[in-house]
Amino acid sequence: MAKELLRMDHITKTFPGVKALDNVNLTVEEGEIHALVGENGAGKSTLMNVLSGIYPYGTYEGDIIYNGEVCKFQKIKDSEEKGIVIIHQELALVPQMSIGENMFLGNERGKKNAINWNETYGEADKYLKMVGLSESSRVLIKDIGTGKQQLVEIAKALAKHAKLLILDEPTSSLNETDSRALLDLMLEFKKQGMTMIIISHKLNEVVYVADKITVIRDGSTVETLDCHSMEIDESRIIRGMVGRELTNRFPKREGVKLGDINMEVANWTVYHPLYAERKVVDNVSLNVRKGEVVGIYGLMGAGRTELAMSIFGKSYGADITGTLKINGKEIELKDPREAIDAKLAYVTEDRKGNGLVLSNPIRVNTSLANMKGVSEKGIIDKDKEYAVAVEYQGKLKTKAPTVEQNVGNLSGGNQQKVLLAKWMFTDPDILILDEPTRGIDVGAKYEIYCIINDLAKAGKSVIMISSEMPEILGMSDRIYIMNEGKFVGELNAEEASQEKIMANILQAGKGE
């Protein structure tokens, strides 16, 4: 039996009015990868914040026993000194600084008033090698991709002499290849004796790396599963997370009736707005029928979002060529307004960054893309606006006390519903959904899927962009596969499988 490294004993943490953690127990043994899973708001991040000292000793009840001694961390530095290092979901890197500068930010090499740059970059290169990143530490963060940035974060943690590494959703912004590489790196570290805690929504990844899985629900530990003593699969974990077996993660669609072709894009080519010679979307053709859900699968950086945005009123890219037909008529959409008027809706990928106005209430966000629907001659009818917001809150079951609640205070799943409400209120015929379920929990995902199915049933055309393969396979009638700006395959729902999709992508890669 391995040595116990960390025990969090009966941790209870209350915020004004809410009990965020209620008697949580977590035991981590040396040299294992321990996964922490639970729905959004279950308390995973709070627990890790308690552990790392973000919530100082005294603001919670219970004990943290690390390496046999009771710890009373007052701030993050205290826990880092002990070797507990947390890598947060949102990367905390300064884009304008080099990799080396970022790695030792707040922990500079040399003296306080005289930074030793040789040591900084020398050390940095050493740690970069350990994580298998073949970039010079003098390269600026903004010049490398998210996958590499995530590796820099890990190298940064190693530089702090981490003994217990906590990774909060490390793969949420990575594509499948990079994710897999990261997970393999974790397994490699394990061999060298590192202990890790991983928080993740992606259960297939959890199953892949974890030795033990602790499930948290509503602020309490539900169970700890040992992956070596029993067979664990995703549905077993989900049962623990939601308290019931989700036998069907994707709602069935009854009586699919496909209508005429609603939108057709032919020979669509888009160039990068800054690097004029780079083709971001290369000769893509696609169509979608009324009542159809079409999936576009592709890794991140394949050009999916760029394709969608360039169709949606040329909001991305330069020198766009190709034809766009809506309802059989060729049409040119010069800006988002024209696209909306042509009954097109683009539900953006990054709901916080370019989807919602977080400082405004649900009501205001719901009407933003269709102010005409709640105003006359530029004067807003506030009663009508309120009624509309309430109507969509009910329709999509958005959980919020009132529609006057600021969107910034909602959970990811509910934010996504507000974003959907905003676009449904524009009464579109064609909806392009870009990563509609990213970063939201299993229960909310299911509800979003139901909404998508309802839209299709009502005769709308839905294009769903996603990098989660099970979702694409579970939801789509037809799947386009995109790789490096090109469509490299098209599969019907019946013939599609994970293997076939990957094969298409690999083949395209070889053909180059």
């Binding site: 988002p336 953006t348 106005v357 400082s359 405004n360 205001v364 933003l368 102010m371 905003k422």
Partner: protein, 388 residues
Amino acid sequence: MSINIKDVLKKYTMVLALIAVILFFQLTTGGKMLLPQNVNNLISQNAYVFVLAAGMLLCILTGGNIDLACGSVVCFIGGIGAVIMAKNINFVVAVIVMLICGILVGAWQGYWIAYIKVPPFIATLAGMYAFRGLSNVVLQGYVVGISNTAFLNIFGGGADCYVPDLFHGEGMNLTCVIAGIALVVIYVLLVMRSRASAKAQGYSVSPFVSEAVKMAVIGVAVIWFFFKLASYKGIPAALIWIGIVLLAYAYITSNTTMGRYLYAVGGNEKATTLSGIDSRKVYFFAYVNMGLMSGLAGILTVARATQAQPTFGQGYEMDAIAACFIGGASAYGGEGNVFGIVIGALLMGVINMGMSIMGVEANYQKVVKGVVVLVAIIFDVLSNKKKK
């Protein structure tokens, strides 16, 4: 539904601060602060702050963008008007030319900011120098007097710039009293009507008690204010212009789609653009409005001084910006309202006047003003922090 005292205090912090400051000066000046003449001057002297702050609010809403040029523009526009009127041209022509010039100046700056994406700070810094220079050119470095009495009476200059008393009250301007009462009655009726319509449609309304208390406080304050004005010379002309501007901008920011877009662009420009709204038009609108308000402020300023000088308007931009930030506008955009800037402008005005009456040296007055702005923002930042 209970009324949470803490929430009320938080919501009306600046109002309470304003009352506290007024009481402080009332005590330290031995009651001089609230003499009718001083209440009157508070409005007349600070008319430009209210007007400029209304324009500035729109710019700040779009993302904390400010207009550094408006002080110079006030001087430039005032100079144009004075020169036109000195040539014995009808003052109506002068006013129209001044307002159009204001709009043109706003369009000039707005074009660079909205369509060419020059940072507003720099575009308006350039304007600040350029229009100051142009004021000198227009006035040729001289003071130009204004003698057109119709112009002065309408825009708040000279001895007779008050709404005449139709009822010829003895020692008390009855028109002014009646106007005050009428305003309160209209306000109460509007509130009741909006509550009734909200109830009829089944929306929740705030408890009647809290609404009644609010109405009573506002009603008493307004009547007291008009009573003070009535015991002096009545309604100053400048107050009418301030009233029109504030009502118009309160309406624009809360009830029109363009107002909504100002908040949305300030809150999240990308999301707004992808919602089919042309953010360039929104910036342009904000700066054209700022220009128009600079024009009006120019008119009010030269009218009150009955002359135009090349040094007028210095520091006006900072007064307007300070009023907005004290009034709760966010330096990052997307938050703020007209009620707030009224309180902000009044607070600055009261402090200025109170210190002048007390005989505080001008240099120290500036120090105090600086500290007040800082304290107001610190308060805002801290109370926002606690919310999270």
